[in-house]
Symmetry: C2
Subunit: 580 residues, 2 copies
């Protein structure tokens, strides 16, 4: 070892020890006869002291060190005169007797501090420097811990980690695949897995009744701001279970992680159907850390000559507590907000219930005080509250009001990252209509089993068929989702038919799975957690990017290694492909 200790461990008990340390120069202070230097590594910071009088040459050498130089020093642990109890080594310093420069450093392009002056692009380009900063390093430590604890829990429950292949087969259903040309199999291609879905089902057919894997997945999608083309999943599957068993098992995992990582104890998770979530929160992943449930005022407000409401399918409202004192300017800003494409609404109606007992709405022309009192009764508004209403088509209006609800919670600081409010959303629809292809798509994936009692409606009223599918929502984010699978070949065939697959297509793409179902497939189901998102939420942040060691930007580029890049003609020739 080039060091006897790391830079986070020396304490008063080590006084007088001769030690050798290595690390990066964080900062230096030259104070007349003394030079103090903060040396940094993964574990902390240790202060080095150089004395101009007792060792002039060494002190001069130390004064020439630049930021981020890598050095090795030897010296004696001594007690500090002015202690810093903010850091673990703050009671000691090192009286340095030897100094070796292990490597020099150019001045880094941004400061290696908790708050850096580097912009996103610069930090991505020099990610190896960014990782030296505490916040990013701490994220990687957290991620490692979440991964270890996840394995510990699942192992204790009898789950077996099985690695499934990364070079698999392209299936056009769902998102776009990344594909990999095969050199040995001319003009054929592998695909990278969007998830190990079919393989975990085959493991169930193979009798591995509890499977998990922390596994990379790939989707060639146009990247929204917080998506990555490769992401990590905690992927799980169980046999001989029903939905209740899955919910209990993974509620158990989530409780365990919240306890181990955050020290938070949460009793049973609430459950809600998809229909209720959409009706009450306008979202299939409601943030229930705060209230502001939707209130349906349709019956109260229709038929009152206010044409906007009269021609609406639905009029819904949220009660914003204590915000009756919003100024005109603040209200105008909310109206502006709901008109942005992100929300897509036409307008917003408000009603203030003032502290003095009076009320005032933006549609007083059409509704008198009696009407306003009826609303407050229905919505539970009290003096000082603000009521915000939106109207229009049912689905669109709910979604818009859901977005407004989140924005208000953000404004009112109701989304505390140290609060954790999990929620199961159940009974998702089996199918959703796709405007582009003018056909139904599987909402979850084509292997999800419909609810038995709804199967008969699949031909006549496909949109109403519910699936044995569930999502685990945490603080307004879907952190996990899954379903009970189809294990019967005939039902699987029926599903493919309703999803618009010809027999030939189904056979080509999933023939192996349907064949497997002929050899004794057990009832099974599973779940997958978005691991990057889970880590971000446990780390108290919304964005996943800084919980990934080497993320890609919104164009799918790794700007540090400058990838993707051009390829030698020779490589293309060997693969029998040409650029267009």
């Amino acid at each position: 070892m080039l060091r006897t200790h790391n830079l986070g461990e020396l304490k008063l008990k080590d006084i007088s020890k001769e030690v050798t340390l290595c690390g990066w120069v964080q900062k230096k202070r030259d104070l007349g006869g003394m030079t103090f230097l903060d040396l940094r590594d993964r574990y902390g910071i240790t202060q080095l002291a150089f004395n101009m009088d007792s060792d002039t040459e060494l002190c001069i050498k130390a004064r020439k060190l630049g930021r981020e130089y890598v050095i090795q020093i030897s010296g004696k642990v001594i007690e500090r005169s002015s202690k810093n109890l903010q850091i673990s080594t703050g009671e000691i310093e090192i009286e340095v007797s030897q100094l070796t420069i292990l490597n020099e450093s150019k001045t880094p392009p941004f400061t290696i501090e908790d708050k850096s002056d580097g912009g996103d692009e610069l930090r991505m380009k020099y990610r190896y420097l960014d990782i030296r900063r505490n916040p990013i390093k701490e994220n990687l430590l957290l991620r490692n811990k979440v991964s270890l604890e996840t394995r510990k829990y699942l192992d204790s429950q009898g789950f077996l980690e099985v690695e499934t292949p990364y070079l698999i087969k392209s299936t056009p259903e769902g998102a776009r695949d990344f594909i990999v040309p095969s050199r040995m199999n001319e003009k054929q291609f592998y695909a990278l897995p969007q998830s190990p879905q079919t393989f975990k089902q085959l493991l169930m057919v193979g009798g591995i009744d509890k499977y998990y894997q922390i596994v990379r997945c790939f989707r060639d999608e146009d990247l929204r701001s917080d998506r990555q083309p490769e992401f990590t999943q905690i992927d799980c599957e169980m046999s001989f279970i029903d939905q209740e068993d899955i919910l209990n098992t993974f509620e158990g995992l989530t409780k365990y992680l919240l306890d181990k990582i955050k020290g938070v104890t949460i009793t049973d998770f609430p459950r809600m159907t998809y229909d209720d979530a959409m009706r009450i929160y306008g979202s299939d992943k409601p943030d229930i850390r705060f209230d502001m449930k939707f209130i349906d005022l349709t019956n109260q407000v229709k038929g009152n000559s206010f044409e906007v409401f009269d021609r609406s399918e639905i009029v819904i409202a949220i009660r914003v507590p204590g915000c009756a004192n919003y100024t005109r300017k603040q209200l105008d800003k909310l109206v502006e907000f709901v008109k942005t494409p992100q929300v897509g609404a036409k307008g917003l109606v408000y009603c203030k219930y003032n502290e003095d007992g009076t009320s005032k709405s933006s549609i007083d022309k059409f509704f008198d005080e009696k009407a306003r009192l009826a609303w407050s009764e229905k919505s539970g508004c009290e003096d000082g509250d603000l009521l915000l209403m939106m109207s229009g088509e049912i689905e669109k209006t709910r979604k818009s009001l859901g977005v407004l609800r989140l924005k208000l919670a953000e404004d009112l600081s109701l989304r505390n990252p140290e609060d954790f409010a999990p929620l199961w959303v159940l009974d998702f629809p089996l199918l959703e209509w796709d405007e582009d292809s003018q056909r139904y798509h599987a909402m979850h994936h084509p292997f999800t089993s419909p609810k038995k009692e709804d199967i008969s409606k699949i031909a006549t009223d496909p949109a109403s068929v519910r699936a044995n599918a569930y999502d685990l929502v945490l603080n307004g984010n879907e952190i996990g989702g899954g379903s009970i699978r189809i294990h019967d070949k005939e039902l699987q065939k029926l599903m493919f038919k309703h999803l618009g697959f010809t027999d030939k297509e189904a056979q080509e793409q999933f023939g192996f799975l349907m064949e497997a179902f002929e050899y004794g497939a057990p009832p099974h189901g599973g779940v997958a957690f978005g691991f990057d998102r889970l880590c971000a939420i446990l780390g108290g942040e919304e964005s996943i990017r800084d919980f990934i060691a080497f993320p890609k930007n919104n164009s799918g580029r790794d700007i540090m290694i400058d990838s993707p890049s051009n390829i030698d003609q020779k490589q293309l020739d060997e693969l029998n492909i040409k650029l267009k």
Copy 2:
């Protein structure tokens, strides 16, 4: 849960319990009034009993069940009259009162038994059935355990698991990359990593001083019998260490695994230089579970008018203990073997030292008894031993004799899979000459640091430069290998130059790494273990294929899912590529 217990856990203590069980029908015996059925799951086998007299209908239903049907039964645990103490549940059986068929099964294409009648191709095609067989299932259980124990050990040593990206950049150095066309970055390609080498080095630059990852790697090589296009690696890297620290740390891991997995305690691992390994065993991964070291007889046998020896650079021999009684036929077979392309030798000389004290060689025409006695003295041959000699060019002859040595050990059952003999091989050459490209290639990879004392020879005598590179060998297999890396930009540049990179090529491919070296790279080094191979050896087998859940065949095909496969024209169009 569809079951109250699994099929490996019911014991005498459970007598009289009402239980519900699920599993696959393993076999059935109809004995007049009774039907006995073995029900199987991942955990074991439980015997079910159906009584024709007490429940005729149920018994008839049971008699109709086929092999591998999936059933659920309820019944009472009773004591067996004829116990089977070979299995964990062998003292009890279930008096069945209810039977539900969860899924039917066609007759499987091969028997689901420890020894199956299925050939390799058939077992691969129906891998999900193969996994139901104990030997394959046990391999997957072992693999899971090795992975968990590896993480436990490395975590206890302060290593941090960091996930590195799979979509990286193609670097033509080394083996062939699998490449992935980018849709968003027109005419550009990602590559799948052959290893996370550069990323782990960047993590060191980033201050993560102990990194590991159990990670998939990809090489588009022509597959020899026991290679896979995707394989798993235990990948590790450390900073502020020297070679000795790495050897100790990973010797520690290997000892820990041998103890935890096999209950085998091994004290310090022997070490040997690459030169010695080649000289003594003709291999850089010698199997030292048995002796048969090479004996150099060149000085003894040259200049004795035996032209074959006289024109040889080297004459070397191995002593085969107790094999003087080999028949003419056995010896002829060995001669035949060394002439196969696998060995590539021209012939083999033998000398028998008989039990009665006489000796006889195949070249008695040229060498008398005195000569034979001199050989026995030099080689340590005793009465009853067989001496086998080969001659020719130094390197080729050593390799050939090394192959013969292994074959003999195999024949003599000296390669006991339950014996474990690890060995460090050190001081590998830095470079090796490549005939095809007529230039030197990095033997390990271009980031390996040369030994300081040898750097001066890099221009004048490149072949003699040794590297700070090491392999961990276990039972004749390289299970791990690594090196101390270059952390100095100038030295790295020099290496690229000697590997025939132009400045532009070096910049394009590894510019990001050389730039990183300018910002305070610490001294570092690491190792990577072949995880599939490690599991196979711990499982007592030579082939890795049955330690991978879903392996590919020798053409890189997954014959179960029939991949790689053709791709929609639309997908190719989106990626801006054409088939040639």
